[in-house]
């Protein structure tokens, strides 16, 4: 257990002392800060640069509300941040195999299961913290720009996406335990995302499986209704199964 705790400390310190602290939180903060302003002023900007035709078109479009800011946030999470997660975590396990650091750690009293679980756990928490921070900034920015910002749609959207993001960290944990190539794992991860997105169009899967989380953040952020309890529960269960499978796969590998 002491080995697990020491490895969790290492993984956390590594986030704080390397590029990892800048990439995901930086990306999320940038979207969080700019999102509300873009949602509020995009029509004006288009009107200013688009001439009289654009101005006439914009008159037909309803005035932006705080829900547009939330939709912007949800769109960034589902379309850009998720891709970043898939690419960044393609080498979660394999990079340590390649660099030889796994050998020095795993010949000490740290089991391979502890190695895999610690990584999945720390990076899921890291993603959760970054998303919560970004959502808080979006919330504050939206209130500032629009004068009103109901919390429900934003937080239900962000939390449903977080469950989806954690699912993808688990998928990438398994893929990076199975494959030596970060690019290969990321490629398959993107393929899995495409399959889940398509599966999300079929209602029975949307109701009960993690596929329901593919579109739910957008629907919720726009103030719509989406039953996400079951998709979130199954998503967390599947995440645990994926991490357990990653630990098993890593155990069978020779280093």
């Amino acid at each position: 257990m002491s080995g697990f705790a020491a490895f969790v400390r290492k993984e956390t310190t590594e986030i704080l002392r390397t590029w990892r602290i800048w990439v995901l939180p930086g990306m999320l903060l940038m979207f969080a800060v700019t999102g509300p302003f873009l949602a509020r002023y995009t029509p004006e900007i288009i009107g200013a640069v688009g001439g009289s035709q654009a101005a006439a078109l914009l008159k037909a479009i309803p005035k932006p509300t705080y829900l547009d800011s939330y939709a912007q946030w949800a769109k960034n999470l589902t379309q850009i941040v998720l891709f970043a997660v898939i690419i960044i975590y393609g080498g979660l396990i394999s990079s340590e195999r390649k660099s030889g650091t796994a050998v020095l750690v795993l010949t000490k009293p740290v089991s391979r299961t502890a190695f895999v679980v610690a990584k999945a756990l720390v990076h899921s928490l890291f993603l959760a913290l970054a998303v919560v921070l970004g959502t808080l900034v979006t919330w504050g920015g939206t209130a500032l720009v629009f004068g009103t910002a109901a919390g429900g749609p934003l937080w239900s959207s962000a939390m449903s996406w977080l469950a989806f993001g954690v699912l993808f960290i688990s998928i990438m944990t398994l893929l990076s335990a199975l494959l030596g190539s970060q690019a290969g794992a990321a490629g398959i991860g993107l393929g899995v995302f495409a399959i889940i997105s398509v599966a999300g169009l079929w209602e029975p899967l949307t109701k009960y499986s993690p596929a329901g989380l593919a579109n739910a953040p957008m629907v919720l952020a726009a103030g719509g209704e989406s039953a996400i309890l079951w998709p979130m529960v199954t998503s967390l269960v599947v995440s645990c199964v994926l991490v357990a499978s990653a630990a098993w796969a890593f155990k069978t590998k020779e280093l």
Binding site: S2, R9, E14, T101, A102, P109, S111
Partner: protein, 309 residues
Amino acid sequence: MTPAVEIRRLTKTYGHKRALDRVDLRVEEGSIFGFLGPNGAGKTTTLRILTGLARPTKGTVRVLGHDVATADNAVRADIGFLPDVPGFYEWMTAEEFLRFAGGLFGIGRKVLDERTGVLLELAGLTDITTRIGGYSRGMKQRLGVAQALINAPSLLMLDEPTSALDPMGRKDVLDMLQSLRGRTTVFFSTHILADVERICDTVAILDHGRVVAQAPIDELKARYGAEKVVVEVGEGADELAAAIGAEPWAAKVERDTNDTIAVTVTDADAASRAIPAMVAARRLPLHRMEAGEMGLEEVFVQLVGGGQQ
């Protein structure tokens, strides 16, 4: 007494390639054991199996009395290991890495403070505060040896520990390993014969995945030294050397600057009967005739073939 390492009929195959072929090895507790072999002989594979990083195809491997196939954290807690190319977290400093390694063993803060200081000094890294990413290969190797000792292991396994070091660094590491004699079992692989000759008490020679010799180093040299005969005559050494060289039992004849002839023989009995007769037939004064001692290098070359090094 339970041996520190006991390997029985260990075979490891990768596809059709047989990396290890029925290897038997026994490393006694407290010994400094040199695991010699040319590149590609299977030394690293053996160490990877001993540390649980790879699995045997056949055979049994016991480390500190435990089967490695079922070895858990308790066994790893008693082992120190340095791979041939150690990989470090490059964003850490040497001190941070040693503290991290100690943390993995659950070593208490007070003991860890003490050991970290001693090992940093031993590795010559005390005043280095830069990150490991900026270290030379030699510095990394010395840090690798230090981290392998952080848990004061009962068994220290090192893969080519001196290969990346300069002469001073090599001497420091060898002195350090020698200082562990009797307290820790040291098992290290190398292709540097001088290192083995200097500090090891027992040696095994691996070639093409097979152990071709295993014995205490003195015994090994004596065993193969008996296959060498040194003859010293007062005069006529050139003619005698030529005559000996023509005999079927003479594998190699070397002439010294004086009248000494060193003969590597394939049949010591035949040589010991024939040489005095050859000296007497030429009426040469025989000053000396004895079994010569082979150096480890000669033993090694004889066992694995000179063409491989």
